[in-house]
């Protein structure tokens, strides 16, 4: 196995006394695309900042090509210049689009002619040819995000890190950015790590999806992501995920085909009591494992669901957990449609 480009070992990150990140081990292979998914506050952005050496972990270490990286080390600048981070709502410098894109090259420094040709080609990649002299602060959100992207890719980094690259742009610009990232990855072998709220985007871009919840990596990023067909009967919206399994949902858009339910939001019970605002499915437990003081259950209802319950909750069902049929219950409002 080749050495990972980034390896994270026993990282903890605390702000004051609040633990925001706790990752025993995580590695990224060179040349691949990684999507970090998870709700707000799950630690995605913090993880990106640690990888980009913008912040230090409280303890633990980050290795680049097997070499320890530290903000205060003498080679920190050299390492930082091998990667770049495009922030959510990227701020552009108060100057022209051209000078924004040329900024990182000038710092290194490159000569004028090579800067010009690199900037021109970056502008072409993001579809902003002709925008050179425009004031960066007067661009639309989509144009600004593409300028920020050009400003990063012009540096041809080994690792391109992006925080919610399509969060504030319209669908068309979002599509352009997705295609561009895939192209950069394919053409230059750039390792890309990006965060997103949008699971469907994560899976469109890569099979390497890492789920973060409360600062922890949830094993198997694809659990409880289920695809189906949208239906509507008597005013109730469903996603039909198997021949006889319908999941009630609140919201959807035209292209919705997938749902995601956080394992924390799925309760299990032998005698469920549930209301119209909840989904209830019958199945049986196929696996129960301890995970950081909780119990991770896999329940087969025809489709597998993962539920994360407390040790106490598990104790109530433990004696018959594998013997009897069991029900899983979750609120309609906890079903994320994408």
């Amino acid at each position: 196995m080749t050495q990972p480009i980034i390896e994270i070992k026993n990282i903890h990150k605390k702000y004051d006394d609040r633990l925001v990140l706790d990752i025993p081990h995580l590695s990224f292979e060179s040349g691949l695309i990684y999507a970090l998914v998870g709700p707000n506050g799950s630690g995605k952005t913090t993880l990106l900042k640690l990888i980009n050496l913008l912040e230090s972990p409280t303890d633990g270490e980050i290795l680049f090509h097997g070499q320890k990286a530290d903000i205060n080390s003498t080679n920190a600048l050299e390492l930082k210049r091998k990667m770049t981070l495009v922030m959510q709502n990227a701020v552009l410098f108060r100057t022209s689009v051209y000078k924004n894109i040329a900024y990182g090259l000038k710092l290194r420094p490159f000569n004028k002619a090579s800067i010009h040709s690199a900037v021109t080609s970056a502008l072409d990649m993001v579809g902003l040819v002709g925008f050179e002299q425009r004031k960066a602060r007067k661009l639309s959100a989509g144009e600004a995000q593409r300028t920020a992207l050009a400003r990063a890719i012009v540096l041809k980094p080994e690792i391109l890190i992006l925080d919610e690259p399509t969060a504030n742009v319209d669908r068309r610009n979002g599509q352009t950015i997705e295609n561009l990232l895939k192209k950069i990855n394919a053409e230059h072998g750039t390792t890309i790590i990006f965060t997103t709220h949008d699971l469907s985007q994560a899976y469109r871009m890569t099979k390497n999806v890492i789920s973060l919840l409360d600062g922890k990596v949830i094993s198997g990023g694809s659990e409880n992501i289920i695809y189906g067909i949208f239906r509507q009967e008597n005013g109730q919206k469903f996603i039909n995920i198997a021949s006889n399994i319908n999941i009630k949902v609140n919201d959807f858009n035209q292209d919705s085909v997938g749902i995601y339910i956080s394992p924390n939001n799925i309760r299990v019970s032998f005698n469920p009591d549930y209301n119209d605002n909840q989904n209830c499915l019958k199945g049986h437990v196929t696996s129960a494992t301890m995970l950081d003081g909780n119990v991770r259950l896999i329940i087969d209802t025809g489709i597998e669901f993962v539920s994360l319950i407390s040790k106490e909750a598990f104790q109530e069902i433990a004696s018959d957990a594998f013997a009897k049929d069991i029900h899983i219950v979750f609120d309609i409002s906890d079903v994320h449609v994408f």
Binding site: R81, M87, F93, G104, A152, L155
Partner: protein
């Protein structure tokens, strides 16, 4: 009324005939103010940057003090420097009193709080993410500081313009420290004060017009840079 009209006619004659007394005052004013603003900027801009970006004990008190000093009356600064450099003062042996150097010292002391105060707010107004962005794009420490100054350039330029406006028109300290000596330490503002008290309105009006013109030109330049 006639003396006003005659004053204006005479003023324009003085301006267009490049009267030596008028233009000596203009030249001395510009020279002293430009040197003062340059020296103050060298001290104030880094100081403003440090205060704006670093956290230290007593930071709020320091900022309040600077804001208070921004309004220091010019005569108070004049008095302070005068006591230090007068013949019997601690720096009397340097023979600075009634020289352009003394006027520059006074103006620098006068303008430093203004430049520091306005530099702090100019640097505070730079989006916090600018620094982070510069680092992610590979800026080292020196390049980072330069980037922040560049982002704050309009605010900093406005600070310099305000500071220049404050010192080129001030009378109190210039009069006390320079002594209003013709062709040596007489500036536009001290000349206007003197000539008016002597009933010689023409030179006063001529210098007043030029002083306004200078202010006007500086503002035009400022707006030009702001729109770039």
């Amino acid at each position: 009324m006639n003396y006003i009209i005659n004053g204006f006619i005479e003023a324009f004659r003085l301006i267009f005939s490049f009267d030596s007394e008028v233009f000596s005052a203009v030249f001395i004013s510009l020279k002293i103010s430009l040197i003062s603003i340059f020296l103050s900027a060298v001290i104030s801009l880094p100081l403003g940057f440090i205060i704006a970006t670093k956290s230290f004990l007593g930071k709020k008190i320091a900022i309040t003090l600077i804001n208070t000093l921004m309004a220091t009356p010019t005569v108070v600064v004049g008095l302070m420097v005068y006591t230090l450099i007068s013949r019997s003062g601690p720096f009397g042996m340097l023979n600075l009193l009634y020289t352009q150097k003394a006027m520059i010292i006074g103006q620098v002391i006068l303008v430093i709080p203004i430049l520091v105060g306005l530099a702090i707010s100019a640097i505070h107004s730079v989006d916090e993410r600018v620094a982070e962005t510069a680092i992610t794009l590979g800026a080292n420490r020196r390049q980072l500081i330069f980037t922040i100054f560049l982002e704050a350039r309009f605010g900093l330029l406005a600070a310099l313009v305000s500071g220049f406006g404050r010192i080129i028109g001030e009378v109190g300290s210039a009069m006390m420290l320079g002594g209003n000596i013709k062709y040596a330490t007489r500036t536009m503002s001290t000349a206007i004060a003197l000539q008016t008290s002597m009933g010689e309105f023409a030179i006063g009006i001529a210098l007043g017009i030029i002083l306004l013109l200078v202010a006007f030109l500086i503002n035009i330049l400022f707006h030009y840079f702001q729109q770039k």
